[in-house]
Each structure stands twice: as C-alpha cells, then as structure tokens.
C-alpha cells in the first residue's frame, strides 16, 4: 500500500496541519510516512502545499511530480495540480472560490464544500478536518482510531479539548462529500 498525496490551498487554511495530522495518523498505524511542505515567503496569503506519502515500504523521494490524490482548496492550486494527478487517481476539491472546475476525464473527481459547511457548523477552524474526513471516507488508508491519535499527537495539549469538535468535523466531511465524475 502506498498513497502519494498533495494538499494545496491558501496559507492559513490549515493545509500543512491537515497533512501533518494525516502523516501522524499513518505513523500511529505503523506506516512509513513523509511530509514535505512548500515553505517560504509565499506561505502567507499565497499558496501553500504539502506532499504527504503513506506507505508500507520505505519511501524513496519525498518530492514527487505526480500524485494518487490531489486535495485542492483554491483556484491557483487547481491550475497547478489538476494535471499532476495520475491517470485513474483522485481529485477532491472545495467548490468555494473555484471559477474553473476540474475537467479531466481520466481521474475520479469529488467535491466537498467544506468552507460552507464549516461556516454552518460555526467552527471555521475545523474546515481542514472536514476536508480530511471527506478524503478518509473515500480512501480508508488509516483507521479512525489512528486519526484521533494522530490528531492528539499533532495538537498541543492546551488544544486537546478541541478534539471532539475536530472529530465531529471529520465525520461530517465523510457525509457531505459528493461524486462529480468517476472513471468508468
């Protein structure tokens, strides 16, 4: 089992921390993981992305040119990473602010309106957990138990009281994800 993922959006959306929680969940599940962020002056307000690899085997390159899954959270990232999904791979996106929707016919496309849902749930900060929940609904690479352990590990202790709220968001993400088009 090997899953190569890119998560891309605006800095401040929780892109990096979402990747971190996913990576920690993989560690809890006994997998090999790597987490490679884009870092630098483009982070604030601009685009941020992180490559996460979960694998049963040792990981060669933490830097990749194509991905099994792209989780795309703004238009710039759509322009950059739609084409980087492997044929037959998966693209998940939040429709908020997207003006050009994905058009590839050789990949599976899903949409999760997490921004909208986070507002409805009155917890905008759990936006990234809604997206993570949507992803994990489709790819059950890590068990929920391990995700919660991963969450606990990556949150500082003073924020541990927020875990139930995050768990709720993860579950909600699984409920609201919808299929746009899948490869026959």
């Amino acid at each position: 089992m090997k899953e190569e993922i890119i998560i891309a959006g605006f800095g401040g959306q929780g892109v990096l921390s979402m990747g971190k929680i996913l990576a920690y969940s993989g560690v809890m599940q006994g997998m090999e993981v790597s987490w490679m962020p884009s870092y630098g002056p483009e982070m604030r307000g601009g685009t941020a992305n992180v490559t996460v690899i979960l694998s049963d085997e040792p990981i060669s390159s933490p830097i990749l040119h194509e991905f099994d899954t792209a989780i795309i959270l703004n238009q710039q990232s759509m322009d950059k990473f739609e084409k980087a999904v492997k044929p037959g791979g998966m693209l998940i996106y939040d429709g908020n602010g997207i003006t050009r929707h994905p058009s590839r016919k050789d990949i599976n496309i899903y949409r999760v309106d997490a921004t909208e849902e986070a507002v409805r749930m009155r917890s905008i900060k759990t936006f990234n957990m809604i997206v993570l929940g949507a992803y994990l609904k489709l790819k059950k690479i890590v068990e929920m138990d391990n995700v919660l352990k991963g969450l606990k590990k990556s949150l500082p202790e003073r924020h541990h009281h927020l875990i139930p709220m995050n768990e709720k968001a993860i579950l909600r993400g699984g409920e609201i994800i919808r299929e746009i088009s899948v490869v026959e």
């Binding site: 971190k20 990576a23 560690v27 090999e32 993981v33 790597s34 987490w35 490679m36 962020p37 870092y39 630098g40 002056p41 990981i59 060669s60 390159s61 933490p62 830097i63 990749l64 040119h65 194509e66």
Partner: protein, 354 residues
Amino acid sequence: MKGNEAIAEAAIRYGVDGYFGYPITPQSEVMETLMAMRPWETTGMVVLQAESEVASINMLYGGAGSGKRVMTSSSSPGISLMQEGISYIAGAELPCVIVNVVRGGPGLGTIQPSQSDYFQAVKGGGHGDYKLIVLAPSSVQEMADFVGLAFDLAFKYRNPAMILSDGVIGQMMEKVELDEYRPRWTDEEIIEKNPWAATGKKPVRGQNIMTSLHIQAVDQENVNRRLQAKYKEMQEKEVRYETFMCDDAEYLIVAFGSAARISKKSVELAREKGIKVGLLRPITLFPFPYKEIGSYADQIKGILVPEMNAGQMIEDVKLAVNGKVDVEHYGRMGGMIFSPDEVENALEELIIGG
C-alpha cells in the same frame, strides 16, 4: 518529526554540552526546539542565542578548547560568516559540530533548499590547507543519527565536523527512532578522554595550548604535515556511502543528501522502463568515496550527477573515474528542486542518448 527538530532532539540525547546559534531560515527550528525542550534543566546542556554567527563560532572555539561537546547550526549566509572561526578551529585541531541547512545562494539568496555549499564545505571555505569531516544526511533519521556520528569522528580526529543538509531534509517530517538519553561527560571524564583540553592546569601536567598561530614557517609546516596525515587517515578509514541497485547497473547516478532521495525514485522509474541504473550515495563528502565510485568505471557506460547546484560534486566524481566514463551533471539552482521524473529524463537524454 522535522529534520531540524531531529538535530535538536539528538543533540540533547547524545549529551551535548552546549549549542550556540543565531536564527536563520530554513534551520531556525533547531534552536526553537532546543529552547522549547529546556535541556539546561535536565541534562545541563547550555543553549545560547549568540549576537551573531561570528560570535557563535567563536563560542564553539572556546567550548571545544575546554574539551566539551559543542555545536552550532546555521544556513548558508550564516555559515559564510563563520568561516574564519572554522579555519581557526581546524588549525587549532579542536573538535566541534557545525550543521549547515543549505539554502540557495550566492549572497542572501533564497530560503529554499539548495546544495550549492558543497565546495565550501568540502574544499575549504575558510583559508588555509584544512578539511572538515562532512556528513550528508538524506533522511530525518540520518539528521538524528549523524549528530552522534559527527561528534564521534570530531573527537576521534580532533577536527571540526560538518553536517551538510539542506532545506528539504531540514523541513520535511518523517518517522525517527531516537537514541536513549545518555549523560553528558563529567569533568573527570573530559580530563581522561581529552588530555589536550584546557581543564585547569595541575602541577602534574604541562600547559595545554590551543592556537592556530605558528609564527615560524617551519613550525607551521609541521602542523600542516600533521593535518595532512590526519586527513589521509580519514580518507583511508572513514569513507561512508550507500548503494542501491548497483550490482547489475549499466549506468550510475551519484547523488548526495536530498538529491539522492529524489534520485532513488528516478532509479525506480528507470528500472520500470528496463534501464539498468543504480544509485551510489556518498554519505561522507569528505572523505569522498573516490575508490568506491572508481571501482564501477569498468562496469558502467555513464554517470549522471544530479545536484541542486551548478555542478560541484561532479568534479569529485570525475576525479574518481579519471576520464574512463562519461560523467554529466543535471541541476536546478537557486532553491528550485528537481523532481524524480526530471532526473530520469536527464539520465535518458544526457547519458543514454548522449
């Protein structure tokens, strides 16, 4: 855990006595982690933010002179500022560890990853005929492991050792297994293990003088002879490298650090296409695995050297095969990172097609 955090964790666990540094991207997490872990309350390790890189390296000079395990970390422009001190420490034959998490240059450059400090680390950097022991980690695990290894080698040879990393390895997170905590050396242990150190003169021994100043040329030449003998011994005994799928290889990729990680995937991609290529990764950049690379010269048809610079380690690879095999460089510069398919394409275009 991030590579930078692994350095900090490993330093405390290894029983390092002092860290002296000055913040710079992309390695600031080293000191941040040390400050957050507050080792001065547990192991007694000193963590000090100096007023500059020049100050940090001279604090290392002093700390090393007292026989303590001392280290610093910085990134390219900061390491340039330290070069005078590094040369003095090498001249005075004192052990210490310097971590360079390289970013793009020259000048202030970028904050993104690069390997453009290879020449500076391996060929000198400061003035005078000296060498650093240079270790090139290619995983977060090695960031942790090489702290101890660097100190072991530094004290074995009384020579400064450098961990030459970059923004990729410093910023990425991977799984790490850390060593158990071990206590710092006691004062008695320091006197016993490091009889050369300035530990307070007792009547039973003569003065221990540490200096890199030898006014008489004949004295200086003797020091140089001793240094060169030491470097020769390192070349004979301390070469470390790793091979991947080299046994039946018709082509070779030679890469270090993060470029080696990326190239490993390139080897996998090429092997899927039926191209018989292997990867040789120098772990010690000084001493460099000349003989080991040279031993493939009769077996292979060409070598690609992917580096995130304009072509630096390629010069040593060329020396290693001594013109017997075609050696080509593939590089990105200034903080740009090549992807596995770009390296694989370069192999096909420059080496197999070329």
